[in-house]
């Protein structure tokens, strides 16, 4: 394995990790109708107070 291979491998692993991190980090912004205009929503779909 040459140095160029190692650099490519590190870059690809870095890119893949970054993409996965971004995908996991992104919160689920979906809200039930009940909570549509609230700041946040509880698990049982009731608006959390501000």
């Amino acid at each position: 394995m040459s140095l160029a291979d190692i650099v490519i491998l590190v870059a690809v692993v870095g890119i893949v990790s970054l993409i996965i991190f971004q995908m996991v980090k992104k919160k689920d912004e979906g809200m039930c109708t009940n909570c549509s205009y609230s700041k946040s929503c509880t698990d049982d779909c009731t608006p959390k107070s501000r």
């Binding site: 394995m1 040459s2 160029a4 490519i8 893949v16 979906g30 809200m31 205009y37 608006p47 501000r50």
Partner: protein, 660 residues
């Protein structure tokens, strides 16, 4: 300070919101664009602006009205910015009178004042302000007229605090007053009126004392009290209108003239077919096809340069292949179609903002009702031409549960932008000069399948009445190039992001699976790769629709679950590993996919068009359908329909080939 932006549908709320906050929320010239929560800060102020969905009243007749009412009643709001369409003020005032009853200060922005002027509608602002005891500003959000003054008015707090004017007759006002004295609420007048109307949501506030007052009132009027209040409200609105508005009568507007053509009983559907055909012909036909070749040339140049550069710095064949045959080939195959998507996005956005899309909903409503859908289902279908995820979420505005479920299940049938690369790739190669026709035919096939499926579903699964749909037809407008370009830009950015994230990941995964065998040996013949063995497990499912045992086509189609564009990216990677046997497009010149004939190509397109959408859209279906079981039902239903149709298309096509 928190300000709620409230107004009728299509009154220009979102345009004003964007202008005030400097954001770029979706604007459309059809009702119901505002679905998701939109909050922003008014520029250079610390005022939070909340854009509520378009509503006609604070009565719970639709989900939008329920959401807005709940928000205004329960949340702490300092000011309501009520946007009114100056050209239809009388209708807008129904909501305004209800907003005033909340006891929250209201500032009215009379929007589209320029259009009202052109039509000879004169509004006496001073009289209107006096009658409603509210600050009123005449603006044009589209032309940015007087918006600065509106911001200053809000920022400085220079608005009237609304001393409520009586709008009901004396008996009713007395009843309201006595209720106000016994109820405890932040919005006593609003609540008192809701209690008199016997609004079920507010029944919990009813006490023996309030009930007694209301029963006394009911005995006096001997009519439904909700009706009494509505009649009184309309009477007051007519009085205000007579005092403050003068309009020329019976003027034939441009909208009327255009509607005589676009909504003509005989011409409406042929015009719709011609318009949609033109859209797809321009985007996916020879014109759009030429742009693919153009970009492809540069992607190939970049790919060759990258290969030479990597080899020259001492990279091994495997690492070079990972970058060139995996990452660049996969992402590049998708990027080839970007110019075509830009054409499609531009045309769809143009149609949306002119007001034509609302006309489609209007004349399709009758057909939709016959099959158990309502015209409201058309809004998710239109949004679905961009992406199925927001389209499925937008179905939540449909009140009727049955229609909502049907719409959610059928929306992914609309060719979303991610499916366009598949359509263009196959149609461009196999149907050459008729590629536009082949692409457009899929769009009309999608509409036919939606109508037939809805009819069958209504007969078998969801029996019941179809709800009615009230649609306000907006004015035709010359679209703002700025909004169109911003809308297209948003979609392009989202497409490029997908190509650089999901598609890139999937392409790397496909490269790994095709480059290695189960014994982790690199550089094996693709037929001995992990990918081939996985594809062979499911290839029997695809054999009846393409007439060939192809693990390559199988794994590519299955990857449509990750993202529909990935079907093309995967085919490009697999083709790169096969021997190229002819010139022309790499994919169909390769041994892996050279078996494709025109019927097989069309059938493969049909399968990818109608089969289960990507994971993102499946997630949205799970959220909106409520249960995982229903989601699986929808996925199986969609894939089942896709398989049956593809097999039918392939066999009919083969039969035609034999006959010809």
């Amino acid at each position: 300070m928190r300000v709620a932006l409230v107004g009728n549908q299509n009154s220009g709320k979102t345009t004003l919101f964007n202008l005030l906050t400097g954001s770029n929320q979706k604007v459309g010239n059809w009702p119901g664009v505002t679905i998701e929560r939109k909050v922003g800060m008014i520029r250079s102020t610390n005022v939070e602006l909340i854009d509520l969905p378009g509503i006609y009243s604070l009565s719970p007749y639709s989900i939008e009205e329920e959401i807005s009412r709940k928000f205004l009643f329960e949340e702490k709001i300092d000011l309501i910015l009520n946007i009114i369409d100056s050209t239809s003020m009388e209708r807008s005032l129904y909501l305004t009178t209800q907003l005033l009853e909340l006891g929250i200060p209201v500032v009215i922005a009379l929007n589209m004042s320029d259009i009202a002027d052109k039509r000879g509608i004169k509004i006496d602002l001073k009289t209107l302000e006096e009658r409603l005891d509210t600050t009123i500003l005449s603006i044009s959000a589209a032309k940015k007229t007087n918006v600065f003054n509106l911001i200053q008015t809000i920022k400085q707090g220079e608005y009237r605090k609304n001393n409520y004017h009586h709008i009901y007759d004396h008996d009713l006002e007395d009843g309201i007053r006595s209720l106000i004295s016994i109820i405890d609420s932040k919005h006593p007048r609003f609540l008192a009126i809701k209690l008199i109307e016997q609004d079920p949501v507010f029944i919990k506030y009813q006490t023996d004392e309030t009930l007694h007052t209301i029963q006394t009132l009911s005995k006096e009027y001997l009519r439904d009290m909700e009706q009494v209040i509505a009649d009184e409200r309309y009477r007051y609105i007519e009085y205000v209108r007579d005092e403050a508005v003068t309009a020329k009568k019976d003027q034939m507007t441009w909208t009327d003239r255009l509607d005589n053509i676009f909504l003509n009983r005989i011409l409406a559907i042929p015009i719709f077919i011609v318009i949609m055909f033109t859209v797809y012909y321009l985007a996916a036909g020879p014109f759009g096809g030429a742009t693919v070749d153009f970009v492809d040339r540069y992607v190939s140049l970049f790919s060759n340069w990258a290969e030479d550069a990597l080899l020259s710095v001492g990279a091994s064949p495997w690492s070079t292949s990972l970058v060139v045959d995996g990452m660049i080939a996969g992402v590049g195959a998708i990027m080839n179609f970007l110019p075509q998507l830009v054409i499609l996005f531009l045309l769809i956005s143009f149609l949306e903002t002119t007001g034509y899309m609302a006309r489609i909903a209007f004349f399709l409503d009758r057909i939709f009702q016959k099959v158990g859908l309502s015209g409201k289902s058309l809004i998710p279908f239109i949004i679905g031409s961009g992406c199925s995820v927001p389209a499925i979420l937008s179905a939540r505005t449909i009140n009727d549960e049955t229609e909502k479920k049907m719409t959610i299940m059928l929306t992914p049938f609309i060719p979303c932008s991610a499916k366009l690369p598949i359509i263009t790739l196959f149609a461009g190669y196999f149907f050459k000069d008729n590629s536009g026709l082949a692409s457009a035919s899929l769009y009309f096939m999608a509409i036919a399948v939606i109508l037939i499926s809805a009819y069958v579903m209504k007969k078998v699964l969801f029996k019941g009445k179809t709800s009615t749909f009230i649609l306000e037809l907006p004015e035709y407008k010359l679209p703002s190039m700025k909004f169109i370009l911003l809308d297209v830009w948003d979609k392009v950015v989202s497409f490029v992001k997908r190509a650089g994230s999901v598609i890139l990941l999937a392409s790397i995964a496909i490269w790994l699976l095709i480059s290695f065998s189960w014994t982790f040996e690199y550089g094996v013949n693709p037929d001995q790769s992990i990918l081939a063995s996985l594809g062979n497990v499911f290839a029997w499912l695809f054999y009846p629709m393409i007439g060939e045992w192809s693990w390559g086509a199988t794994v590519s189609a299955i990857q449509g679950l990750v993202a529909k564009e990935q079907v093309v990216a995967s085919m490009a990677i697999i083709a790169g590993y096969s021997d190229t046997t002819s010139d022309g497009l790499l994919i169909f010149g390769s041994t892996a996919f050279s078996f494709f004939t025109a019927p097989a190509a069309y059938a493969f397109m049909v399968f990818n068009l109608f089969s289960a959408p990507c994971f993102g859209a499946i997630g949205a279906m799970r959220q909106e359908l409520g249960t995982t079981k229903r989601m699986w039902g929808a996925v199986l239903f969609q894939t089942g329909i896709a398989w049956v149709l593809a097999v039918m298309v392939f066999n009919i096509g083969r039969l035609i080939e034999v006959v010809l």
